[in-house]
Amino acid sequence: MEEINEVELQSESIERLLNIVEMLNNILKDSELIKAFSKLVVYEETFLLIDRLPQIIKLLEKISRPEIIDKLNLILDKLSKAIEESEKEGKKVYSLSQLLEMLSQPEVSKGLSLFLSVVKALGSLE
């Protein structure tokens, strides 16, 4: 009895496989569908992307290094916290004397120095 069930199961599986092959065959025979797939993929930009794939992969490799990901995470965390804080404070307007006073705060001067380093690095680009 079990053997018969096993044979039946196998025959059902083969039938299913044949149905799937038929389905794939129908998909591959549908010229409009193939054209639509091509429309999704074949653009001038797609070719540019393929052409520059080695550089893009190198760039992605750099970005995906653990230390870079950690740094990016940290920056995003700090940014979102800063945004939250500023939202809490509302649209507060600082006077010139208040701004000068803020410059003396260690976090602000540290941030400004980092910001200026980035600006300097950007400026040194040819």
Binding site: E12, R16, N19, M23, I27, K29, L33, L40
Partner: protein, 397 residues
């Protein structure tokens, strides 16, 4: 061992066949399906025959779509007696049941609009038979000038976007043949705007305008004069044509259902829109095109209703959400979907190549979807959850 419940399904379309395949996996039910033909038809293919000449996906033997264990009877159901739980067949035999689901689909009634039987003989349609769809293909591939009209006589027709698909695919064919400049295309509808639902109208009206298709609103086709080549509306307007298709009236099945009162004036079975239960009968359900519980006459609606019936008879409190998912092909490898539910009107889903691909892949997978709901339903559950009208409205506005 307790006795199995006799579950009878009348009609082997999408809803009936899927319900049978779900229920047969449950040992509590002895499932019998009665269908009047040995084949199962994929009706959206009529559109592909009419405008592409593609007959490939039209039908399969029903037996090949049913899981092992489903008893298939090829016979015509003549009478259903809900009070006595008996079904009479054309062959003379009677079948009794513990549960019944009525899913025989609709009857196309060309005579419902005066002159439509003659019109369909000339130009065909894409609602009734492959032969009539084939006539449409011949017409649009031989017409070089004049006015081609698609007019809606029955707003409750199968596949709500189909008249728009028809006129847009006709436009594509005429353009490909290089005669579009000489052919005037008109779609005449009973609604105050091209598409009845205002939100989706924003999408479809823009497409019709861009493709140079004229729209006549408040035009419910009432009679056709094939000699004069005119269609007159209930509202009193007349339009002339050189070739025309009038969407025929859709009526309930030609089955005597007792007691009287369970069907409405069009012969559709009155059923609850959430549970599909026939009013007054715990053991009777009606799903698909023949049921008033179907808010769209489409295979997807019947499929979802079949799932609800299966879950209800298994003891779960499942309910229809009224979800529609009508794929709409607009030509030039572009498509969209009419996605709505009881709570939300259709989302403003813009035409895209991606939607066209989705439609075609769905059509290619159709036979496997019917035969193997146990494989496809979990996939569709995820699809329906993530494309719910509520989500789409939030994303698309």
């Amino acid at each position: 061992m307790s006795k199995k419940h006799k579950f009878l399904i009348v009609g082997g379309g999408a809803g009936g066949a899927i319900l049978a395949n779900i229920l047969v996996a449950n040992k509590e039910f002895d499932v019998t399906l009665i269908n009047d033909t040995p084949n199962h038809y994929y009706w959206p293919q009529l559109l592909q025959i009419a405008f592409r000449g593609d007959y490939s996906n039209l039908y399969r033997p029903l037996g090949s779509l049913l899981a092992k264990g489903v008893n298939l009877l090829t016979d015509r159901v003549e009478k259903i007696d809900l009070g006595n739980r008996k079904v009479s067949l054309k062959s003379g035999s009677e079948v009794d049941y513990d549960y019944i689901t009525i899913a025989p689909g609709i009857t196309i009634d060309h005579e419902g609009i005066a002159g439509n039987e003659k019109l369909v003989l000339q130009f065909g349609d894409f609602y009734s038979t492959p032969e009539n769809a084939s006539k449409v293909y011949n017409v649009i591939n031989n017409m070089n000038n004049g006015t081609f009209v698609i007019s809606v006589g029955d707003p409750y027709h199968r596949c709500p976007p189909s008249p728009y698909e028809g006129i847009l695919l006709a436009d594509e064919v005429f353009r490909m043949r290089g005669v579009r400049e000489n052919v005037r295309l008109v779609i005449a509808v009973p609604y105050p705007r091209p598409y009845p639902a205002e939100s989706f109208n924003e999408i479809i009206e823009a497409v019709l305008k861009e493709r140079g298709i004229e729209v006549m609103t408040f035009f419910t086709a009432d009679s056709i004069d094939v000699e004069k080549k005119t269609i007159t509306s209930l509202e009193g307007e007349t339009i002339s044509y050189d070739a025309a298709i009038v969407v025929p009236m859709h009526k309930g099945p030609k089955i005597e259902i007792k007691p009287e009162g369970v069907t409405n004036e069009d012969g559709l079975i009155v059923a609850d829109k959430f549970t599909n239960q026939v009013s007054g009968y715990d053991d009777a359900f009606a799903i698909g095109d023949a049921s008033t519980s179907a808010n769209a006459k489409t295979g997807v609606t019947a499929h979802l209703q079949a799932k609800v019936v299966a879950r209800r008879v298994m003891g779960f409190d499942a309910k229809n959400t009224g979800r529609t998912n009508c794929p709409t092909e607009i030509g030039f490898e572009m498509g969209t979907f009419v996605i709505s539910d009881y709570e939300h009107p259709p989302a403003k889903l813009r035409p895209s190549v991606f939607n066209f691909i989705m439609k075609r892949l769905f059509a290619d997978a159709y036979w496997d979807i019917v035969r193997h709901p146990e494989f496809w339903d979990p996939i569709f559950d995820v699809y329906f959850e993530n494309t719910s009208p509520e989500i789409l409205w939030k994303i698309l506005g």
